[in-house]
Amino acid sequence: MRLSVTSLAAQYGQGAALHDVSLEVAEGEVIGLIGRNGMGKTSTLRAVMRWPEPTVTAGRITVDGTDLTRGAAHRPARIGLGYVPQGRMIFGSLTVEENLSVLTRAFGRATVRAGLTRVWDLFPKLADIRNRRASVLSGGEQQMLAIGRALVGQPRILLLDEPSEGLAPSIVDELTGAIRNLANDGVGILLAEQNLTLAVSLTDRLLVLEQGRVVLARDSSGVDINDPTLRSHLGV
């Protein structure tokens, strides 16, 4: 399965957010999307996931030739895209388990049951607190839940938006491990990240976003994190 984004442009109200973004993610691939805040990482992921905003004004989003540029907001997930948004956006008024089982109507009982087992395997910690309200979880637990929730529908490609943001290093390590495991299982990953070191260590290929455009594309293996051009793009 392959997600292709071609010359995507999108805007919030009248304000343009993306001008020309093209990228591809295939199963088993880990693609990093890096750039400073406000450069279009989140907008790209939201546009792919058909959020109400930004609105896509040009370009195409396809998965194996199926056009996702228009249509209902639940289609990307049904087709096999998983989404872990920036800021986690777990459902605070639901319990941990409800956060996952809420997808029963979307994917069917059997899939969700399998999904639950998979999440409890991946994050045993969550299984212990499955009846707790999600709003009282710690940041790390919330992030695990957000990733777990995205996995319930058995996605083939996972879109992760700054999963390491605001988390303690030890937890970041734990998450990195989990993401690596997923990639090894053949899930394609599109990782939006500001943390260059983390991005380089996780991904196969890096795309640098600036002002809503992809300005650089490199294989991660060849990237020197002290490369001045790269650093200037990232503002570090």
């Binding site: 996931m49 058909r50 997930a77 989404y83 948004p85 809420v102 979307a106």
Partner: protein
């Protein structure tokens, strides 16, 4: 003593009716964040439809289904056809519902005429209960029971069922829920249907007490607003609490401070909103 007892009973039964009237309203606000100012007009149509079915067939169950069903379907159509287009813009939502209520109320006048209509309770709920120490209508006791049942039912639906979990998730973050693969639109249809159904059935329940006449729509809307705003918008327990406050204060004011009746509904609401804008049970906005 018996006047005190009957005041309490009356207050509770009025509260029950208010809660039933406000149910659909608070549901739409709670889930859709829509301040549905067409609620009174939906009630009015439910009332007229039910009255027509009852006078035609005498079948109350059919009246409930027709009133709730037709109003529910109309609400779905209106919700999907009109409100989806302005969702998120509070000002336009409010104005749109006002416009819709103008149309519905005037259409009701054109279709049903302006004569007052009286609706009787079903046979087994008529008359006063003679087992009470004070004369008290069976129908009002029924309303109290029904309000408890509906209140519990809605609570159970929202807090304990998978649909309820979906609804709560939808309130938390509808865009996120959709990105996870849930067809939020279909969920909305369900909510529109439920809100419309409750409003339509409230029309039947209320018209047995109030009768039906043009203009009832505005008054019902104001009552629903007061109840729901007092309690805290979108909160089920808030609506229940708001109903109790209005029902009991109205009942006691009738007896003990009748000259204040014109102010008893809006006065407390104003004071409360100024002190606590989120209502008695509302979360901090």
């Amino acid at each position: 003593m018996s006047i005190l007892l009957s005041s309490v009973l009356n207050g509770l039964s009025f509260a029950a009716l208010l809660f039933l009237i406000a149910g659909g309203f608070t549901l739409l606000y709670g889930i859709m964040r829509l301040l549905n100012l067409a609620h009174g007009a939906l009630y009015l149509w439910g009332a007229y439809l039910a009255a027509a079915v009852i006078s035609g067939t005498g079948n109350y169950l059919l009246a409930v289904l027709v009133a709730g069903g037709v109003v529910g379907i109309a609400t779905v159509i209106g919700g999907v056809g009109l409100f989806a287009r302005v969702q998120g813009n509070e000002l336009r939502e409010v104005l749109l519902t006002i416009a819709v209520s103008l149309v519905l109320a005037d259409a009701a006048l054109a279709v049903w005429g302006g004569h007052p209509v009286g609706v009787q309770a079903p046979e087994f709920l008529r008359g006063a209960a003679d087992f009470m120490p004070v004369a008290f209508p069976i129908y009002r006791l029924f309303l109290m029971g029904l309000a408890l049942a509906v209140g519990f039912g809605l609570w159970y639906l929202i807090e304990r069922t998978s649909v309820g979990a979906l609804l709560r998730a939808c309130v938390d973050n509808r865009a996120m829920l959709a990105s996870l693969g849930v067809n939020v639109r279909r969920l909305y249809w369900f909510v529109w249907m439920a809100g419309g159904f409750l409003a339509g059935v409230a029309g039947l329940l209320g018209s047995i007490v109030f009768g039906i006449a043009p203009g009832v729509d505005v008054q019902i809307l104001l009552l629903a607003l007061v109840v729901v705003v007092l309690g805290g918008l979108g909160s089920l327990s808030g609506a229940a609490l708001g109903s109790l406050v209005v029902g009991l204060s109205y009942s006691f004011a009738t007896v003990y401070a009748p000259e204040l009746l014109y102010f008893i509904i809006f006065g407390p609401m104003l004071i409360l909103l100024v002190i606590r804008p989120q209502g008695l049970r509302g979360a901090n906005a």
